[in-house]
Symmetry: D3
C-alpha cells in the first residue's frame, strides 16, 4: 500500500498575509535576502485575477519507463501517485507539480481537481499541462500552467514518481512545505523559514505610493514623485491631510 | 489549371457525436485502441468554448523556394493553393494546415476565412499563424493556432505546396478525411476508420460521474467517489432515485 | 549625470493614419517596397482591441555584468536607464525594448508605466516581460510582450544599457524614431522615411471589399468575389447604388 | 507490393563539376540567381574532408501512427520504405532524408549503408540521426547528420512514409533529382534545371585569388589584395609570369 | 556528516558482456521487451571508440537556491555531493549525472575525474557539461556529455542535491544500479533486472551477418543478402565452409 | 567613408599570462571577484588544442533590413563592416562577433581570415558561423564558433552593423578591449581592468596539485589528496624533495 509523507504548514494567518503582498513584492524581498530568483518560470496564470498563497504539496513526474509503470490507467487507482498528493490536501494548500515541462500529458483532469477544490485546495502550479481545462477554470481554484492537452497523465512520456519530495518546477527548487505566492504575474517560492521575514519587510509599504500614483497618472514628473522626492514631500503631506477629511 | 482532390466524408451524424464526446475522451479511447498520442500538439484554442468535430481538408506548406513560387501574391490568385483547399469546403469541414510551425507567415486572412465560414466550414487547425486574428475570431468558426502575425502567407519562408495530401500537423500525421475533434483542451486526430468505434466506446459514460462530481465538490473522499466504490454505491442509488422525482 | 538623446518625430497626423491601416496592411505594403519582414516576432498583444501607431523610443538591455552594474535597484534611481527612456515620452510615443527575449526580468512595473501613461505614451513593445501585468493592463495603454514575471528589471540576467540607439526587437532592427504599428496581429516597424508612402499606398483600399465580404459571408464563390471578378462587377455596382439610398 | 518511382539524373560529368566548386560557391551563385538560401541547415558533416555532388533520392518520414505502421521491424522487410529508397541507388547518388529533425530514431544502420556504398552511393544527408555511426564513418561515403542514436528507425516517434517525393530537409525544399553539393561547410540544394548555369558561373574563378591569398598570408593589405585592386595588378602580373617559369 | 547509499552491482562478467553487444543491439532488445526508448538522448560521445558497460552511480543536481547552498566552493569540500558520488566508485562503475541539461556548469573537473579513473571508474554520462575537457579526454575513461565549459559546478544555476537516487538523464529514468551501455552511438539504460535477458537475446547474433556485409560491400542485392534470403543460403554455406579452411 | 574606432590594449606580456592560466581558472577567479558568469556560452572550440588570450575587437550584426543594406556583396567592399573590424587587427588580437546565434550566415570566409592571420590575429569567437571552415582550420588561428555554413555573411537574415562597440556574444557582454581567454573548454571574458588581478590570483597555483594528481591516478583517496590534507603533507614534502634530485 502506498504511503506518502505529509508536510508541515505554518499558521494560516502568516501565509495569508503573503497573498496580499503579491508575487512581485515577494520576489523582490526574497531577492534582497540573497535568493536571486524565486520565480517559477514557465507556468503562467490560467485564472486571471486569482491571487493566492499557501504551502506546497509536491508531485514529481519522471520519464516513463514501461518496466516501472503499467499502461492501464484504471487498473488500481490507489497506486496512482497523482491521487496521493491530493489526499494530503488541507484548506489553502497549493499543489506544485514537476511535470518536466511536458506538453503531451494532462497531469490532472476535472474529477481530480474537483476533489482538490472540495477539500479546500487553493490552487495548482504545473510545469506542464492539465486536461479538462475549461471545467477546471470554472472550479474557482487558481491555475498556473504551461497549457492544456486532451491527453491523460501517463498517456505519453511521463508518470508520477514521488509525493512531497523536493522538486524542480519552472527551474526553481521547491521543498515540500515551502510557501507559494501566485498571481497574474506568476508564481514565486518563499522558503518556509523566510515567510515571516518576507511578510514583515514587504508590508512596510510606502504610504506615499498612492499619492505618487495619482500624480503620475496626471502627468507628474517621475523624478519628483517616484520615489517621492524631498521637494514633493510637503505636497504629499497636504494631500494626505486632505484625504483624512 | 490547378486540380486538387476532394476527400471522402463519413455521415454528419456519426461525426457530430464526436464533438459531444470532446477531445479528452476521444484521445483516451484512441489511446486504448493502440494509437498512443493523437493530440495535435502546438496549435491551441483561440476561440474558447468552441467544440467541434469534422473531416479534415489538408493543406501542406513547404520551405519557400523562389524558383518554384513567385513573390507577387496577387498575380494569379487561382494558382494559390491556400485558396484551393477552401474550394473543397462542405458544411462541417475542418481545414488542417501544416505550416511548419512558422510564426512569420499568416496562412489565412479575414477574406479567406469569411469565405470558409460562408461555405459552412467548422474550423481551422494551423501549425502556424493566421492574420487578421481579431476579425477571424468574430466569424464564429473555431480556430486552433500557434499565433497571429501581420504577415501574409508567402511573405517570408514558406509557401502552399499541396492540397488534401497526408500532412504532419503539431507532430501528428493527419490523412485527408480523418476526423478532427477540437475544443479548449486542443485538437485530436481520429483515423477515419475508427470513428464509429471511438464514438461507441466514449459514449459508454459512467452514469455515476455526475453524482461523484457533486460529492467531491462538497469535500467527499476521492477513494469513495472516484471511481465510485462499492461502499458508496447504495448512496449513489438513493441519490439517483431522488433525482428522478 | 546621465544624458540620452531624444528622437525626431514625424507629424502626428501622418502617424495616426497608420493606426487606421493596421499592422497587416502595413506589413504587406512594406514588403512590396522591398523589406521582406517588418513583423516584430515574439512580443504578442496583451491588450486585445488596442490598435496604435507612433514613433519608437528605444531601450537596449545587455547581459548583466556585475562590474558594470550594481545590484541595489534603489541606490540612485537617476542612474537607471529604464527611467531615462521614459523621460523622453511625448504623446503618442511607443517604447520599444530589446530585453533579449528574457522571461525572468520585468522591464517595467506599474509605477513606471503609470508615469508613461500620464505623459501620453501610447504603448510599449517588449521583447521580454513586464511585472505588475494586471495593473498595467488597466492603464489603457497598449502592451505587446512575451509575458509577465514578478521579478524586477535587473534581478536576474540583464540590465538597461542604452537609450534611443538602434535595437533588435523580436528579430527586427528598430531605429529610434521609426514608426511602430501595433494591433492584435502584432507589431510592425515602418522605417521613418517610408511612413508617407506606406500610408498612401495602404489607403488605396478596395471599395468592393465590403461588398465581397458580405457575399462571402452568405456563401458566395471566392473566385467570383475575392478578388472581385469582372463577372461580379455589375452586381457590385448595383449593390453600391443601393447602399447610397 | 511496394512500387516507388525512380528519379531522372543529369550527366555525371555535369554533376561532378559541382563537387569541385564546393558548397560555398554553389550557395553564393544560387543566391545571385534569386534563391536566397539553399543551405540544408541542421545536418552537419560527420565525415570531414568529404566533398561530393550528386542527384537526390528522397525519403520522407512522418510522425508515427500505430494504425498505419506495425511495430515489428523485421516482419516483412520488403514493406520498409527506407529499403526502397536505397533500391534506386546508382553510382554517385545522394539520399536525402526528411527525418523531421528527430534525435531518437536511427534512420539507417550499418547494413543498409553498406548496401548503399556497395551500389556506388556517394552519401546521405539526414535531418535526423543514423545508428552504427562508427561503422558508417568507416564505409567511405559522405555523411551529413544531426547526430547518432542507438535506436532503430521506427523505434520511437517516426516512420518512413514516401520515397522520391518532394521533402523538406533542414528547412529547405528538395525535389527528387535536385543536385546536392556537400562538404565540410554543409549541404546545398541545386535545382536540377540550374545545374549547368551554377557550374558555369562558379567556374569563372578569379585567377588572382591564389596570388591574393599568398599576399594576405604574408600580412598584405586586404584593401590592396582582396578584391585585387588596380594598384596591385602589375604586381600580380609580375607574380603570374614568375609562376609560369 | 554526509552519508550516501551505495548501489548493488551485478557480476562483472554479466555486465561486461553488454559492452560487447553495444548500445544499438541493447536498445533494440530492450525495445522488444516493452521499453520503447532506453536512449539517454542529449549527452553524446566525447571519446570516440570507447565502448563500455557498467552499473550506474547517480548524481542529481537541482536549480541553485542560495538559502540551501553557499557560494564558496572550497569552504568544506566534504559537504560537496559531487565528491560523494565518486567515493562509491568501484572498478567498472559509470557515473550518471542529471545536470538538468545545463551548459553553464562544469560538473566535474580534471582532479575529480582523475580520482574516478584511479579508482577504476569506466566512464561518466552527464546531461550537461564538465570542465578541463582536454585533460579529461586524456584520462582514458569514457565521456558522454552535452559539452564543456570553463565554469565550475556551482558557479551559475545548479548545485548537487542527492547521490544514488533515481534521476532523469537525457529524458530517461535511471535507477541507481541500472546498467549503462555506452559507445559512439550514445548511452542506453538497461534495467538491472533485464541485464541477463538482454545479454542472452542480443548474443544470438546472426552468423550470416559477416557474409552478408561482405556481399553488400561488393554491390550485392539487399533483398538477397539482408536479411539472408533462402535463395542465398547455399551461397552462404559455401562461403562459410571456405572460411573454415 | 567608413570610420571605426580602434581599441586600447594592455601590454602583451600581461595578456599572454592569461593564456597560460586557461579559461577554467580565469572563469573561477572572475567569479570570486563578483562576476558570476564570464563564459561566452554557445560558441565552441573548432581548433582543439588552441589556447589563446588577447584583446577583443568587436563586430555587431543586426537583423537584416533591406532599406539599410543592399544585397550585392561586392558592390563596394569598403562599405562592408566585417572588413573594417579586421583592419584594426594587431598581433594577438581576438575578434568577437555578435552574429545573433545565426546558423544561416557565414560571418567570415577563407580570404578574410587569411588576412586576419597574416596581420597576426590570434583567433575569432563567433556567436554564429563562418564559411570555408576547413580552410579556416588550416590557418593556425583559434576558432570558437556555433558552426559552419556555405552561406555568405549577408545572404540571409543579418548584416554587419557596428565595429568596436559593446556587444552581446554567447549571452555575455563584451566591451571592446576586454580580454578574451579561450581554449578547449570555451571562451571567457576578462574585463580589461581586472586582467592584472586575475592573472595574479590565478597564478598562485597549488604546488601540491601535481603531486595530488599523481596519487589520484594511482587510486589515492580524494579526501587525502584533493585538496591536500594535513595528513598527506609530509608525504608530499618527501615526494617534492625526491623530485628535486
Amino acid at each position: 500500500m502506498v504511503q506518502t509523507h505529509d508536510i508541515s504548514r505554518p499558521s494560516r494567518t502568516l501565509v495569508e498575509g503573503l497573498a496580499a503582498i503579491g508575487s512581485a513584492s515577494a520576489s523582490a524581498e526574497i531577492s534582497r535576502m540573497g535568493i536571486r530568483d524565486s520565480h517559477i518560470c514557465g507556468p503562467v496564470s490560467f485564472t486571471p485575477g486569482k491571487c493566492i498563497a499557501g504551502p506546497a504539496l509536491t508531485l514529481q513526474f519522471m520519464p516513463l519507463r514501461e518496466d516501472l509503470y503499467g499502461t492501464d490507467e484504471y487498473a488500481d487507482p490507489e497506486k496512482q501517485l497523482h491521487r496521493h498528493v491530493l489526499y494530503h490536501t488541507q484548506p489553502g494548500d497549493i499543489v506544485v507539480v514537476d511535470a518536466r515541462g511536458d506538453m503531451r500529458s494532462g497531469v490532472f483532469g476535472e474529477m481530480m481537481l474537483t476533489y482538490f477544490m472540495g477539500r479546500g485546495g487553493a490552487g495548482v502550479v504545473v510545469d506542464g499541462c492539465i486536461r479538462d481545462g475549461a471545467a477546471a477554470k470554472a472550479l474557482g481554484i487558481g491555475l498556473w500552467l504551461r497549457g492544456t492537452t486532451p491527453n491523460f497523465h501517463t498517456q505519453t512520456g511521463i508518470f508520477p514518481f514521488a509525493v512531497n519530495v523536493p522538486v524542480a518546477c519552472g527551474n526553481r527548487l521547491v521543498m515540500p512545505g515551502d510557501i507559494i505566492v501566485a498571481d497574474d504575474d506568476g508564481a514565486v517560492v518563499v522558503p518556509a523559514k523566510l515567510v515571516a521575514a518576507v511578510r514583515e519587510k514587504a508590508s512596510v509599504h510606502h504610504e506615499w505610493e498612492e499619492f505618487s500614483r495619482l500624480r503620475l497618472r496626471e502627468g507628474g514628473d517621475l523624478r519628483r514623485y517616484y520615489p517621492l522626492s524631498d521637494e514633493a514631500y510637503p505636497e504629499y503631506e497636504t494631500w494626505k491631510r486632505s484625504q483624512g477629511e
